[in-house]
Point group: D2
Chain length 366, copies 4
């Protein structure tokens, strides 16, 4: 039932529906003393804002965040930080028809089965708009990680058949292209590809990836709370994600051990891995190299061609979905992935403070 809380120490609770009054997040357990203002969060929200290019929904939402608690004289106080974004662009009439039937690829049927009825306006709680709250909270996690020299960077790896060329990784392109690809050439190709799909009233899937750099070794916990297990959950919980890979991911299943093990060597006296097939995690605990996570995202289920389905009266019908939908989820989901990864890693780092007794004793002896 209670599925809207994430994290153990840095604990985020989100709320809100696509067409309700507002959406928001409460962060409980944020360490005290972080300088924080609305602008810190707004710049992350702006990255997932709709209506910014030809390949996102024309729905215009300003998505202005308001901090309601937890800050005093510009700094976090250690008590809950409440963040809220008012909905301003709900056009509920668009959705009145879908109340009566189940859209393929959507959660209409499953919510009805679980709860007996559903808020059908724009998908209600199951709308991608829910991720707005994750981004608001994740922006705070990112700011803390930055202070510790850790960078979290997600980007689009492929859109349909179009792959970004990562050998010339262009970090600035991620924020500047409509596709969030780190490759401007691929961005051009992907936009043509998407426009082709749009003309055919179709939608497209894609793949996004996240790199976490600067993370010290030793983060994550054994057995069930492995860092990669929690990242998999965090990323798979983003609607439309159907597969998660760590490091070389799926490729390992057809490999020999000699090709997959990462040798250790020394670099300036530091232990480092010669390769990084593992993607920065060994036995569920970070190994000091780049953490690499990949997510495969399904095509937007809202397509404008005729589809077969069933209505609530128990009849088979044909439907044509209307409304305002992105032909592809990924460009706006990239920042969501970044934020979920940041929340996961930060929480693991806070839990890790008590790993060694000598550190605990020293902390309280000060």
């Amino acid at each position: 039932m209670a599925g809207s809380t994430f994290g153990t120490i840095f604990k985020v609770t989100t709320w809100g529906e696509s067409h309700g009054k507002a959406l928001g997040a409460v962060i409980d357990g944020c360490p005290a003393g972080l300088p924080l203002c609305e602008e810190d969060i707004q710049k992350y929200l702006d990255r997932r804002k709709p209506g910014t290019s030809s390949i996102t929904t024309p729905r215009k939402e300003e998505d202005i965040v308001e901090i309601l608690s937890g800050i005093f004289e510009g700094k976090t106080t250690g008590t809950p930080i409440s963040l809220m974004v008012r909905n301003t662009s709900q056009i509920s009439k668009d959705y009145s028809e879908i109340a009566s039937y189940y859209r393929p690829g959507h959660a209409d049927y499953t919510y009805d089965q679980k709860y007996g009825f559903r808020d059908y306006r724009g998908g209600g709680r199951s709308s991608g708009r829910e991720t707005l709250s994750r981004v608001a909270a994740g922006a705070v996690a990112c700011k803390i990680l930055e202070q510790m020299g850790i960078s979290v960077c997600a980007y689009t790896r492929s859109i349909g058949a179009i792959q970004a060329d990562l050998s010339h990784f262009d970090r600035t392109a991620i924020l500047e292209t409509a596709t969030a690809m780190p490759d401007r050439k691929a961005d051009d190709a992907a936009i043509s590809y998407l426009e082709g799909a749009k003309k055919q009233s179709n939608s497209v899937g894609g793949c996004m990836e996240c790199r976490i750099e600067g993370l010290p070794a030793g983060i994550g916990d054994p057995v069930f709370e492995k860092l990669d297990a929690n990242l998999a959950k965090a990323v798979m919980s983003i609607g439309a994600v159907k597969a998660v890979e760590i490091g070389d991911g799926c490729k390992v299943s057809s490999r020999f051990g000699t090709d997959n093990n990462d040798a250790f060597h020394l670099e300036g006296g530091k232990v480092v891995k010669t390769t990084n097939h593992a993607g920065g995690v060994l036995g569920g605990i970070s190994d000091g190299s780049t953490l690499l996570i990949r997510a495969h995202v399904k095509p937007t289920p809202s397509i404008y061609t005729t589809q077969e389905t069933v209505n609530k009266s128990g009849e088979e019908i044909n439907i044509n979905i209307k409304g305002r939908h992105d032909p592809i989820v990924i460009p706006r989901a990239v920042v969501v992935m970044e934020c979920m990864a940041a929340l996961t890693v930060l929480d693991a780092m806070l839990i890790n403070l008590s790993a060694k007794l000598e550190n605990v004793v020293e902390f309280y002896r000060k």
Copy 2:
């Protein structure tokens, strides 16, 4: 720190190291009234027992489970069920050498970084032997699911380059072949393949899959506690798993929406999906069709060729690992995947009991 507990209502806590005195699990929150005896659990443990074929470690462990609490007159009482398996075949001298260096692909380095030192005997807590506790607990979950008409079935899909042919799915072969493949021909081919690798002192990766059938629609929770997110965590937490897919998984990223949406239709008055690209889950909640999860498993990192690494004195060295290791993880990991899936699904079902107020009110009105 505390990474050894899984689940919210049906809560499992595991403990034990590869070469300690014993391993075990405590199940807290098992509903009262389930007939349960050691044999129910033993038959699951026997499926992951080493030494049963030429392709598993020659280490012989009887792995006999003892139920220490929670059962009275043959039935669960609702209080904690404590399960223990004594270690009997520890040959600690095999491992004394590895105390001084970091094996590639293992958690030696990361545990040392996290905790300052490690139990190096057979990998200690990071050993695959830890999964014994998961299987002991999962066997109980499986028995409960069975009573509700839900079957959980995992199997090997591929080993290195050898794929099982799933079009003639042979369920009995899963339990009868050394590879746990549902295809006896592929099993033969895979064994040859493995023996080839073994001769070259190498190890092999593979892919395993799990099908959950009979699960009603409506299981799982919105946002962070999606059923597929929790399954991804559960499966990714099994050591050596590097990727998790739900339904069509990675394939969706290169697809168009028209090819990926599953239409709804009626079958005997029931709403069903025409196809199952989604793998049985929509918006994180089960949709009544088969739940399908796939895991990609890396080759066993313990290989018998010379490898480069670093020792604790800070020197680059070459090592040759000894000991008794499986050339492939999967055949014994299949039952672990089955058990983790069962634990996840059962817990979600117990949480789901309070989804609708009318059910809660009716329960207490009785």
Copy 3:
């Protein structure tokens, strides 16, 4: 750190400070289908509203609740219910002086020690105003319990030396008197008593009690999650509560077993207890009789006589607190106790749905 979440299934997260923009609560895990509107909550908030009598703070707050999410067509949807109350009457200048020193009996010193600094305006998060969020959430729990025939009723038992006579329990008086006593005569006496204390710039302690009626036997869990243990935590977490008793409470420590055991007998075929020394709970599980909890509340620490303390510059000083404070906490805390008890009991009832396997199996066979 993260101290603002309560409950396992019916999970409440609160946020907000005395002089921030707003306060609120998010309820995650509320069963779907409960008719709910702002008025249901407002009537509970009105019971803790300040400024309603001569014995509460003259601070006027309208405390109007707004439901921001989780309701559709007048009913709960099963997704998070976000509740918010805007602050409208902050007079921050009243508090500017207290930034520099530690008020006796307040959390000024401990918050500074924990977090390095504090939001000193009106006590910030440690203000009694925080309980507004608990009442907003508790009102929803109360409404659900009502639907199951369970009533939760808290009242004032004593104020300083003045005891209510419970032998003629006057339930209507609880809502109608300024003291929330179930005895109008004692209410008169208590008001005189309080006015005497006020004249001497003093404050007064008191005792409040809560009765839960209609609760079925079998609620609560063994060992650490006993119903009385969770009630003790819930009630002790209300600022100013210094002792919690269940049933006959402290009296049991000077008693013989023959005087303390409650015999069982039959009443209309039902097992009932002849007496209720135990207060409705045996072995941490409800026994079907009235649940009785008592809380002892300290006098308001904000008093208007000169007090000795220390300032942040490390000097011993004399202070005279200003501001607008209740001479007694209890009349407004009674509804907080009621709400905390309701939240505790409801959560235990939702957890209890999976106690017996036969119920679980039957639920899913339907």
Copy 4:
């Protein structure tokens, strides 16, 4: 359902019944590097061992603890510590009769109502013997607290009408007297008092108290996770405890503010309280003075006089309980209280490591 886990970071799960094969505890989240052996735990278990004086049950249990995991080369590894004590003195025939009826003051009726049946041998999971696991785990917490200069000391304050004189607190007497009183004279008087009660086949209640010294200011969390709230839960969860007081406890309800506030002053440059009515906690957070908790314990419900009750066939009957029972719970419960307090405080201290951002950043910059 799942009531047997305690703590967030230092997480303890207990299991076992009075007459099962064994009882035990799993500690997950114990910081790595603590020297720990069985003797460290045994000395705590010996303090609650039955059969050591005329005023405890004649049941003889050696209660020898075995450490099954989590220790390597004499130190904790950071992974789960599994502790087990085999039952050796179960005389189950003593209890066969009670299967058919509900003993007054016991959990027989409530367990039957909750689970449909119960393990009636010696009370099963609801037996006081369950606390053995708490003591085993608590001993580890105590050892860690000691390393940080924190002492936790519980003792008997009163037995029936006999009060210990705390003005000449005799710490050695706690461990050396049969009553665990810090006053040898009161111990003599209490033993006479208990023998008188025993002659009349009666039992006696009492009061126990716990002092935590050396705890730094700043421990505990706001709102629901207040240190005193968690201590109240921890102590109330011990069977037979019916009231918990912090500091002056119940007395505050009849006091004026001028008599209850603790002034601050300076002592050697340190902020200290002139008095300690608050019992060491302000706003739920420790204030650096002695933490004081008091618990009122009911008389043992197993008495040897004739009692009225109801049997499972629905008849009113008279019963005479047999078996081996303590005439008073407290002397053996004192160490349980000490352990529960230690577990609570240690967990709060580990959570507190992330309170200030500057500490977190500094930790990872090292």
